[in-house]
Symmetry: C2
Subunit: 409 residues, 2 copies
Amino acid sequence: MINIAVLGYGTIGSGVVEVLNTNGDSIKKRAGDKIAVKYVLDIREFPGDPVMDILVHDVDIILNDPEVKIVVEVMGGVEPAYTFVKKALLMGKSVITSNKELVAKHGATLIDMAKERDLNFLFEASVGGGIPIIRPLNQSLTADEIVEITGILNGTTKYILSKMSDSGMDFEAALNDARSMGYAERDPSADIDGHDSCRKIAILSSLAFGMQVDFEDIYTEGISKISDKDIKYAKSIGARIKLFATSIKENDECVYAMVAPVMIKANHPLYSVNDVFNGIFVRGNVIGDVMFYGSGAGKLPTASAVVADIVDAAKHLGKNIWTIWSSRKLELADIDLVEHRFFVRASVSGGRDLKAHLDKARELFGDIEPLDCVVEGEYAFITPLIKEKDMKEKKERMEGLLNVIRVRF
Amino acid sequence: MINIAVLGYGTIGSGVVEVLNTNGDSIKKRAGDKIAVKYVLDIREFPGDPVMDILVHDVDIILNDPEVKIVVEVMGGVEPAYTFVKKALLMGKSVITSNKELVAKHGATLIDMAKERDLNFLFEASVGGGIPIIRPLNQSLTADEIVEITGILNGTTKYILSKMSDSGMDFEAALNDARSMGYAERDPSADIDGHDSCRKIAILSSLAFGMQVDFEDIYTEGISKISDKDIKYAKSIGARIKLFATSIKENDECVYAMVAPVMIKANHPLYSVNDVFNGIFVRGNVIGDVMFYGSGAGKLPTASAVVADIVDAAKHLGKNIWTIWSSRKLELADIDLVEHRFFVRASVSGGRDLKAHLDKARELFGDIEPLDCVVEGEYAFITPLIKEKDMKEKKERMEGLLNVIRVRF
């Protein structure tokens, strides 16, 4: 029997207990031993729930119990999670977490601490809910140099963009709809401003490139500027707008990462990632393109990933599973130097006709052609490849500019 | 430095050497040590190829060299591969293989032999080319009871069915096209009759259910009966025909497996698996639906999977990586008892009109409705759920029957 403790009895914590109960027999077969939850830590009480028999309010009971071999941190947030996890490792316990803030901020340190002590620090559930992606990056794609990882990693923004696209809602209406469905937090800024996706791509990039990618260095843009008019134009050219979290190695000197809405067409593998699924696309220099799809961050899919980590830690008591994520910092390339094509939408105003506007736009962007007009009083076009830096400068000089969205086709 | 030997210098074997050369540095970082190819075994000579320096014709040189820690078997076929692999394990060497015939036939035995000797027998490349699926099943989906695995696992049949659908070719023309493109073997029966897919789903099923699934027990039907007329009808209802290799656990008493063409619609996750990609869909009782897509069985993708196994074996010298595939046989349910819906196509003949035919068909299948006619002199319909056994009997009694295809929508 291998004793574990679960820190936090919220959605994921209760899911972990449920999965261990539901699939106890097959998990025992796979782990080689029975996994027993000895303690659950929470500040709350849960009257009537059988968890009361093992509920504790003091983390030291868990940390000081030598019988507890694996600690499962599913509280979220950096503190007190970081303090608890560090102490658990110092006390010789392996740690599993689903906490993307913790992993993005302190992953390299905690991996090193685990390695030095022949313990494990595992975090499959921190990115992509149930989708196996951390372990495949660590253990399956090891023959490759990863040249790109791109994910649709945030459920709230995916829901809002789908709603806007399917029902023609504007951003505010779609956000309110997401709130009423319970898909958006009361303060949804971490999701819609891209910070959630940013932490997740920081984790994936650190694993892919084997060095610390600081999430603060990643250019991050949310979806709040996307309007129903952008969606109309996208539809008119067979494109969709998705919030991409992406990290690309153009060469040894240029690795860049960004979170931003992009327009893609049906030939992009992530085009058909729909409501229910998250998707992560990986390109390696020998394997070519691989994709991982799966049910996103629901309670049970996420708990499934946590429990898979528990099984792995149970099979590897006393032996560290190698993770290639050193604390050496990867200096990301200046995003200003990266080239993209851009969708540009602007108003026909100032008493001038479309031709006069196009002439001005062509002075900035060369020989662009307007898209078929789908919004009265506006025009739109797609630029050739332009450096981000130059685009910034051209945006300043562009009259009647309404929005700009990166294009990947 | 960890010395390995490669048995067979064909497409995959030369790909393995190429990947180890191309990505040597990053592979060294991930394996923790340099991987060196000490020998390549082949009966042929390769004048001018640097492989000549390490080429041997006698497998005993490899087997008897204690410096060789890992043997990579990429010859294909059951013999002499099986003999060589067994001897390598007996001599204390871990073995990596891409050989689906070998794994389907002797996987459980070889896994046991490796386990008893603290060695590893790994076979990621035997299914799905570069797609990581064996390791995810073994190590990532361990919290789940797997209830379904369905894959599109054979490139030749995927190409032929796509060709028929995109260009309206009949089966023979599409097969000849596949031959001329080098996608079909001179004797393509292993592919088009479903035997290749059958071995692959036997491997995946054994891993998913943890018991030996004999490929000889799997109901297997190929694509040679699919006509351009079936494709026309499929298109007319927004469906596609794919060769599915599938294994489903309906409950503890009923696990069945089959390889057969099926009609699916856009709501099926494997609908959009296109020319370049293979796809494997897995449903777990807690994780929900997960999918793995990737470049199929090309030289470098497959070599990438082989090399990832080499890295894993190198990291686990002296320690067996647990594989849940016991030699205990899983008795598959009798396919006769499984229910499906069927697409049925028949000719309007015998001097009777459509109504008379439909009346007869309704006597057999209940209140079926004909699909809109897209082939002169024929009619088609989709049955309600029927047991396979009953369908067999009804097929005998059905007048003018032309073809029957299982339906999954």
